[in-house]
Symmetry: C2
Subunit: 192 residues, 2 copies
């Protein structure tokens, strides 16, 4: 029942956006009474936050499985492919951007988002470290670290997600992302 509520919430955030996701719509879609909802989640905010947390957790578990599987061979190519998938073959980042934008004008939500965001970014770093050599220190003469490049890439993808919300066609985005990966090539060479 909790699960049904969380699922319905995520669906609605995707379809109608953060602010158009009301508790009433959620209950209707989940086939749950409003009473049951308030029992499990006394406020709207707690429900939305819980749903986002749930999604992040699911994704995290999914990642862990995938990592445990491939164990050895995990190149930088793989890492970029992974980032792309997580961004555009999944609604994770769309929901996350919705949450971040909503958090800008909601102090309570902002603290939650801040914390989860840091966790997510360091998770990315850890994944990347599996595809690089042991010490992810300075990479090139510019003073860039692998962490920096990952952070830039994440920002880029977020910007692309915002764009994708309006311009559905994505062939060009794909090309641009590969271009970016190639631009990073020189800085990352010697690592993979």
């Amino acid at each position: 029942m909790r699960a049904r509520l969380l699922d319905a919430t995520l669906e609605l955030i995707i379809e109608q956006g953060w602010s158009n996701t009301s508790t009433q719509k959620i209950c209707q879609r989940a086939g749950v009474s409003r009473g049951a909802q308030t029992h499990h989640f006394p406020t709207r905010e707690s429900l939305l936050i819980a749903s986002v947390r749930e999604m992040v957790n699911r994704h995290q578990r999914h990642i862990d499985e995938q990592l445990d599987q491939s164990e050895v061979k995990f190149t930088l190519e793989d890492f970029f492919a992974f980032l792309w998938d997580a961004t555009f073959n999944d609604d994770l980042l769309t929901i996350w951007v919705e949450a971040m934008v909503a958090a800008r004008s909601d102090a309570g939500l902002a603290t939650v988002v801040r914390d989860t965001d840091k966790i997510a970014i360091t998770a990315m770093r850890n994944i990347a470290s599996r595809s690089t050599s042991k010490t992810p220190a300075v990479v090139d003469e510019l003073g860039a670290t692998v962490a920096d490049l990952i952070e830039l890439t994440i920002y880029l993808l977020r910007g692309m997600v915002v764009q994708a919300g309006v311009h559905k066609a994505g062939a060009d985005r794909r090309r641009l992302f590969e271009l970016w990966r190639n631009l990073l090539g020189p800085s990352l060479r010697g690592f993979s």
Copy 2:
């Protein structure tokens, strides 16, 4: 009176976000009766859209002035500095991101945003062409064009804006952006 409404609208979008910007609040802040508001802008959407248009136009005028002034000396460094300013020393992009995210779940708004977005991006391209040599064709062996690099940069900045909404501190963002500029350097070398 129209102007007062538009100003109040933009202020509220900044402070409280797109969806929390109601016509009532706008009227209250602008010191305008609700009757006057409905006279000039019959629907909420028309008012919000008009305010965004107004902001884009103001910015455009501002750009034109600045360009007419500097006329000759306008390097790529200048261009990146300009982009940074337009992004973080101005609320333009914050509002624009709010609009884009809202447009994802509002078909009517989406068409407006799409059009304005294309105009804005080509405007950026034109500005950049003032700092590059005449033919902005393929730049390097990767097949990147100047337009591609600009588009990537705009996406990056959008992602950073989303981030900035939650993490106010921006020293690190500044550093990352300069790193980005330097990464693009090799591809742009020979142009400025």
